[in-house]
């Protein structure tokens, strides 16, 4: 299994009730699979249009997730 941290911010942190959770994924999971698993675990996230980052870079979905990677799930940004 691949162990990763998943970070949440703003609206997604409120939905999850936490700012960081640990997650185990099958070996060689892709980013899109990881995101699907996170939404499955925290179904209230499905109410939002979600963006997804792996190791502090926006993910296309095809990235292979490795042990210790930092994932992040958040809504469309609204800074400025």
């Amino acid at each position: 299994m691949t162990k990763v941290s998943v970070l949440f911010f703003g609206a997604t942190a409120d939905e999850v009730g936490d700012r960081e959770v640990d997650l185990e994924l099958p070996e060689n999971s892709r980013a899109e699979d990881a995101l699907a698993r996170i939404v499955e675990r925290f179904p209230r996230l499905a109410a939002h249009k979600l963006l997804f980052a792996v190791n502090q870079e926006y993910a296309s979905g095809a990235e292979i997730i490795g042990d210790g990677d930092e994932l992040a799930v958040f809504t469309a940004v609204s800074g400025g």
């Binding site: 609206a11 980052a53 502090q56 992040a72 958040f74 469309a76 940004v77 609204s78 800074g79 400025g80």
Partner: protein, 144 residues
């Protein structure tokens, strides 16, 4: 010839922003103009009164995205120096949330780059805004 310039400055901070000091942090000798955008908390948005805002950032990623924007702006515009500072935490009405300052030899490029940078920042840099009203609060979700 692309000479590397090390004076660009990107920061995320919970401390109040001193716009003038940020904009004049670097004044390149080859430049004649600095264009600055000071984005601040407005009292009324869509007719509703805001009590205060809370900004939250995914800090390490936000800094990386700001650096990417600065590098992209240098590619697109004839500018010398980019500064981007964003505040986090609770901001009262009128307080500055973001400062973007661009120094350039000629003002046209500085205006163009500054306007481009704020537009891009608002769509790519992972920072979120919560609007707090007298009767509730809501995290704002961006357009894309």
């Amino acid at each position: 010839m692309t000479e590397e310039i090390r004076d660009d400055f990107y920061e995320i901070t919970a401390a109040p922003l001193d716009v003038g000091a940020i904009a004049r942090r670097v004044v390149p000798a080859s430049c004649g103009a600095i264009v600055t955008l000071d984005g601040f908390v407005r009292q009324f948005t869509r007719g509703r009164e805001t009590e205060y805002l809370v900004y939250e950032a995914y800090e390490p990623m936000a800094l990386k995205e700001m650096e990417k924007l600065g590098a992209a702006a240098r590619e697109r515009f004839a500018i010398e120096c980019v500064t981007i500072v964003h505040r986090t935490g609770r901001l009262e009405i009128g307080e500055t949330s973001v400062v973007i300052a661009v120094a350039a030899p000629h003002r046209r490029a500085a205006f163009e780059a500054c306007e481009w940078l704020i537009k891009e920042l608002k769509s790519t840099v992972p920072i979120w805004k919560k609007e707090v009203y007298a009767d509730g609060e809501t995290w704002i979700e961006g357009a894309n």
